[in-house]
């Protein structure tokens, strides 16, 4: 019944450094999610905290997040997500949107 929290620590194959500025993107609407992304010294790693009503998809979440980290080579960054039943494609889109906005700021 209670919300499901998933915490992951991921490490990019090659570290390209953190995002520039703390950024918030999105609204926890139906089939959507919001992302907080901010630079933080995590010894080259990326820390992800995800809160979602959905259970049973932890492995899929990890694959999507790993794909995002591989595509961006992000390191030393904290990511927090509030999800409301978003599909993997939407999750990846929002992560990239947050990444772009955080580096444009």
């Amino acid at each position: 019944m209670a919300l499901h929290t998933l915490e992951l620590t991921l490490e990019p194959a090659t570290a390209a450094g953190p995002v520039k500025a703390p950024t918030h993107i999105g609204v926890t609407g139906s089939s959507d999610l919001e992302v907080l992304i901010q630079p933080e010294d995590l010894s080259g790693k990326v820390s992800v905290k995800l809160v979602t009503p959905v259970t049973g998809f932890d492995a899929l979440w990890e694959r999507v997040l790993r794909k995002f980290i591989d595509e961006t080579s992000l390191s030393d960054t904290r990511i927090e997500i509030n999800d409301n039943n978003a599909t993997p494609a939407v999750v990846l889109l929002r992560l990239h949107q947050a990444y772009t906005a955080a580096n444009a700021a």
Binding site: M1, A2, L3, H24, V27, T28, G29, L36, N84
Partner: protein, 318 residues
């Protein structure tokens, strides 16, 4: 952060709560308070296993229009219909309270402050009212917002802007009605019981909530403007809303008293005359009342372009 210049010509209807908050005040002047990075999420939703939001669906902060400090509250309809729970309610209450305290401090410190240098509150409504998941806390929050509106009265003008998808309904419909001035676009909707709820309770014969034309001519901006429930009707752009707020912001607080729809014996008399008119007319449709207000081609008012509507419409006075 969204580019302020790009935001101005954009549709207010489609703008997110945060974009509205940023775009309603001067460029670069908005500072969010209790924002997403403070991570104040609803404890009730968490217990129920429902998705939470870092800002609980309400953006609060302070900006500036010209010389006027503007305290902004902006509701996000995409998060549980913009419903107001304990956290979002507390953010609303404390924003208004902060505006009042700020006003009092400012006036005590600088007694010869001009009207345009005194703060105002702007609330961008997009809500169906109480968040039923946290009903008691949500109701209490509504009462506390009302309380702050009364405390703000005669000191800090409270301006409602309504032009977002969900409209302003339920308990927040009452709150909107209790503000000093209401600015709407023709896509804004304002009411107490929302269309879907009327249909659910009274049946489709009474009110067909899927009939969008009916919904808009009963709760929409054009109707509310004719009825006097809305003080101002503007185009559906962020800029149009900001400019109307900017026109009101420097006015002396006494000027807002005249814009109120409720809140004095005279205004109650006026409302009672409206009730008497409704009882006498037994209108079958909003258009009947528009005709009564002196609009010859009342039904045509639904479809005429905005500029023509504004130049030809006659507003009801009783």
């Amino acid at each position: 952060m969204t580019n302020w210049q790009n935001l101005q010509p954009r549709s207010f209807l489609e703008a997110s709560a945060r974009d509205r908050a940023i775009g309603l005040v001067d460029e670069g002047s908005f500072t969010e308070l209790a924002g997403p990075f403070d991570r104040v999420t609803s404890p009730h939703l968490e217990l129920l296993g429902d998705a939470v939001a870092f800002d609980d669906g309400i953006v609060t902060g302070i900006g500036r229009i010209g010389k006027t400090p503007v305290f902004v509250i902006s509701q996000e309809g995409k998060f549980i219909g913009g419903s107001v729970g304990e956290i979002g309610g507390a953010k609303m209450v404390n924003t208004i309270k902060t505006a009042i305290d700020f006003h009092d401090d400012l006036v005590a410190k600088y007694p010869d402050l001009t009207d345009e240098e005194k703060p105002v509150v702007v609330i961008s409504f997009e809500t169906g009212g109480v968040r039923l998941h946290e009903a008691n806390a949500g109701l209490l929050a509504h009462a506390e917002v009302m309380d702050q509106l009364q405390k703000a009265r005669g000191k800090v003008p409270v301006i409602a802007v309504i032009g977002s998808k969900v409209g302003g309904f339920g308990g927040m419909g009452f709150v909107a009605a209790a503000t000093d001035a209401i600015i709407m676009s023709e896509f804004g909707r304002l009411g107490l019981t929302g269309p879907e709820v009327i249909e659910q309770e009274m049946g489709k014969e009474e009110f067909d909530a899927s009939d969008r034309a009916l919904v808009y001519r009963t709760t929409g901006g054009r109707h509310k403007y004719i009825m006097g429930d809305a003080n101002f009707l503007v185009q559906d752009t962020v800029e149009a809303f900001r400019k109307q707020v900017a026109e009101l912001a420097p006015l002396p607080v006494a000027d807002f008293e005249a814009m109120r729809r409720i809140g004095s014996p005279e205004k109650v008399e006026n409302q009672l005359r409206l009730v008497a008119l409704a009882a006498e007319m037994q209108p079958k449709d909003a258009v009947d009342v528009w005709a009564k207000a002196g609009n010859e081609n009342a039904a045509g008012l639904l479809d005429v372009p905005f500029a023509e509507f504004m130049s030809t419409v006659k507003r009801l006075s009783v």
